[in-house]
């Protein structure tokens, strides 16, 4: 785990330690970084000098952490070097957040870091079409897979835009692994989380872990007069069928879905200030052919 709350001459710092990946340890470090205590006007420094690896797609929740810290005062990023610096330069994170020049991705595997306002779904669609659908590295992905990938990512983005109340908007980033036939895409926000969203509907604050379970497994919805909860469940079923993976971080809890063992919860140890949805698509396994359901009038 990283080291939190170290007091330096410049203020407080959080040091990301070792390998920061898309797992409970990596998400835990991001959550801890968002919760570093400080005195008024002190700068919080996110220190990467002890970081050996940083998953590219985690630039999205890192963006949330930076914005969360900036709401309360100054924040800085230091110690970026080597492979960690390279990946954050290539996916555009350092260009957006630090104003650094974007490094050319000669391998063509990064999916650009970006932030969108809650009402900017048309811009997100454009981004998706330019950076994912037409990504050179993904040209070999079969069309039925790409269609499911597009639908899944749009569902998750729309869910975040509608339910999160995230003042700074929605943060996205991805990474393609051509040799593993895998696409990772992460959508993060700085909003009220699953528990906050359900509380608006049920006037009851569920624990973070229970709130995610109620939405995904039980089909609870935060909408009063309209159905919901179908989008995430559809994505979940597609990923189960194709050997993908879905991770949801909300507040202090994380749920992970994979083919085996199914849904497993984990605690982060600190509260992430919003929600992270990370999807790992298997780009090669074809989706199941749809079972015939007849005409609309035969459905019910």
């Amino acid at each position: 785990m990283g080291r939190a709350g170290a007091v330096t001459m410049a203020g407080c710092s959080y040091s990301f330690a070792g390998s920061v990946g898309s797992d409970s340890s990596g998400y835990g470090q991001l959550a801890a970084a968002a919760n570093v205590g400080r005195l008024v006007a002190e700068t919080v420094d996110l220190d990467f000098s002890r970081t050996s690896f940083f998953d590219a797609n985690l630039a999205a929740p890192l963006g949330v952490v930076v914005h969360h810290l900036l709401r309360a005062g100054p924040a800085a990023i230091s110690g970026l070097s080597g492979a960690v610096r390279a990946i954050l330069d290539k996916n555009g994170f350092t260009a957006k957040v630090l104003g650094a020049p974007r490094r050319i991705d000669t391998h063509g595997t990064t999916i650009r870091y970006e932030r969108f306002g809650l009402a900017e779904y048309p811009a997100f669609v454009q981004y998706f079409r330019h950076t994912v659908s037409s990504h050179g590295g993904l040209a070999t992905v079969p069309l039925p897979n790409m269609r499911e990938i597009e639908a899944a990512i749009l569902e998750i983005f729309l869910n975040a835009a509608i339910h999160s109340d995230s003042e700074p908007g929605i943060f996205v980033c991805g990474q393609f692994f051509p040799h593993k036939n895998r696409l990772d895409f992460t959508i993060a926000d700085s909003g009220i989380g699953f528990a906050g969203s359900l509380a608006k509907r049920y006037n009851q604050m569920f624990p973070d872990e229970e709130a995610v379970r109620l939405v995904i497994v039980q089909g609870y919805t935060s909408k009063i007069a309209i159905t919901g909860g179908t989008g995430l469940r559809q994505v979940h079923e597609y990923l189960v069928a194709t050997g993908g993976r879905l991770q949801i971080v909300s507040g202090e809890s994380m749920w992970q879905l994979s083919r085996r063992p199914g849904w497993t919860p984990a605690r982060l140890g600190s509260r992430f200030p919003g929600t992270i949805v990370n999807i790992e698509f298997n780009t090669l396994t074809p989706p199941r052919p749809p079972a015939p359901v007849g005409s609309f009038r035969e459905m019910f």
Binding site: Y121, V125, P144, R147, E150, A151, L154, E155, L158, N159, I162, G219, T221, I224, A225, I226, T227, G228, G229, T230, G231, R233, Q234, P287, P289, P290, A291, P292, V293, S295, F296, R297, M299, F300
Partner: protein, 113 residues
């Protein structure tokens, strides 16, 4: 009457607000006693957030018998028909709940007031 989803959304039927527009048009037609064909021809991408608003919501306002007799949905391929069935099944279950019925009645009272 026919309602062209393409005319409302373009090729992407994803925005629940546009789904609400389609729902409003279907509802108005049903209240006028007309039959409705909701045409998705030309639409390339459909997600459940749109279908919940445009079609699922009907089950909160009309009985399944009325919907079956008066509404048809055309132009969706096999994959999207499966998605529509998920939305319909979920909507039927959702709107049968007493809790939801009370919330809807309360909304309609507010509208009437």
């Amino acid at each position: 009457m026919q309602i062209s989803v393409l005319a409302v959304t373009g090729e992407l039927a994803i925005d629940p607000k546009e789904g609400q527009q389609v729902f409003g048009a279907i509802k108005a037609a049903l209240e006028a006693g007309e039959s409705v064909e909701v045409r998705f021809h030309g639409v390339k991408t459909v997600i459940s957030a749109f279908l919940n608003a445009a079609i699922g919501q009907l089950f909160g306002h009309f009985s399944p018998d009325v919907i079956r007799a008066k509404v048809d949905v055309t132009g969706l391929d096999a994959r999207d028909m499966v998605l529509l069935k998920v939305v319909v099944d979920r909507a039927k279950q959702f709107y049968e709940s007493e809790d939801v019925r009370r919330a809807l009645a309360s909304q309609e009272d507010d509208t009437d007031a």
